[in-house]
């Protein structure tokens, strides 16, 4: 085998491996139990809000996916009580809520500039392109 042929074979092998990876990402079953999407209200938040600082505490809408990442966790590490949408979380307290069905929920929320907290619960991504797209998107958001 010439050197050129070896390089081509190696590249082919690696390419095949890559394709297999993509196929896995598109068709492999989703994890059985949902993972949590956690938001933490850091210490000193109340003081910073009082000082008139505009804090970008939470995104809106918040996206969750049924069966995949379908548990919303809000942890308040601040000394003060905080309200996130309809949830009043005491100092050093955690609120944990699982979602089992897709849907969109809107709540009044003073922590959002728009005054609204929107929760979007997406259905689990179907096998194929949707699942591949979901895995790539969650890779971007988790890194």
């Amino acid at each position: 085998m010439t050197r050129r042929a070896t390089v081509v074979a190696a590249a082919l092998a690696v390419g095949l491996l890559g394709l297999a990876g993509l196929a896995w990402a598109a068709f492999a079953p989703m994890p059985e139990r949902g993972a949590a999407l956690t938001f933490v209200v850091p210490p000193g938040t109340a003081a910073r809000l009082k000082a008139g600082e505009a804090l970008d505490v939470l995104p809106s809408p918040i996206h969750l996916t049924v069966g995949v990442r379908d548990v919303l966790v809000i942890t308040n590490d601040d000394e003060a009580i905080h309200q996130v949408g309809p949830i009043v979380v005491g100092s050093r307290q955690t609120y944990r809520i699982p979602f089992r069905r897709p849907g969109t929920f809107k709540y009044n929320c003073s922590l959002h500039a728009t005054g609204t907290l929107t929760l979007v619960i997406d259905p689990p991504p179907a096998a194929g392109l949707a699942r591949l797209r979901w895995r790539l998107a969650s890779l971007v958001t988790s890194s």
Binding site: V7, A10, A11, V14, G15, L17, G18, L19, A20, G21, L22, W24, A25, A28, P31, E32, R33, G34, A35, A36, R69, V71, D77, Q83, G85, P86, I87, V88, V89, G90, R92, Q93, T94, Y95, R96, I97, P98, R100, R101, G103, F105, Y107, N108, R135, S138, L139, S142
Partner: protein, 326 residues
Amino acid sequence: MRARRALAALAVPLLAAALASAAPASGAAFRSGAFDPPRQAPDFTLPAAGGEFQLRRLQGQVVVLTFGYSSCPDVCPTVLAELAQVRGRLGAAAKRVQVVYVSVDPERDTPARLRAFTEQFDKTFLGLTGPAEQLAAVWKAYGVSVVRKDLPGSKPPTYLVHHAASVFLIDSAGRLRVMAPFGTPSDDVLHDVRVLLKESDAPILVEEPWVRRAAVMPDAKPGAPSNAAGYAILRNRGTAPDALVSASSDVSERVEVHETRNMSGMMMMEKVDKVALPTGARVELKPGSYHLMLIGLKRPLTPGQTVDITLEFERAGKIKTRAEVR
């Protein structure tokens, strides 16, 4: 060039593998939104037929608390119909569940009108209304947003009240355990009420557990074993006497039951074999009295963390509890 393409192709399976390792959520007893650690539900008083209503007086029962108004066209009837269904499906246990419905419309909701409304769903539902400022304090404590919206062009002029229609579950010890936002399936609310009823069936209750870490002395050697004290309220609601005999925790080498005693002015701390819990007893493990000693901490404790402690009783056996570090 070709090498770079090959490298990119290799990266895909590696990244895919990284994605597969998302941590699963830990199993939870509740199906709806739960608070950890649970804290006492904000207490309130409101005028009621034959005197005053006080939330705290409902301790011993599971309280289902929700908010709304009698002129509500859509959301409130849905919530109340679902709660009536939940209560119906509880059978005999429904006697130990009280639904409390607090008005968000003090202007139109008179006690009589509110009663007429709630009774359409279930005769046991307790509708509460009162002066606007008194109600507003209750809304605020539970984070219920209330916004009045006038209906333009309506004759006579009328309005709607936009309000959060969450359902709050308060356990028999008066602690706020669950907040189920509007839209939570009634099966899930039923499930969570059953969890709280089952909990309150247990003859021995361990309430408000907490741990105080010992002060770290400036001259302490690094790695020196340190201790912490644990406190809680123990209640025996069963028909037989019981006793706390031992305790354990995975954060310390061992846990002992101690008593602080005042021996003619000198405070003595002694290990005790058991803490007796006669029928109906309420014994507080507190500073200066009975308490748990977590001896030889395996990791430093910081306020806000929780610590799992297992208490062992003579009759009731082992009861797991989660204590907050303060």
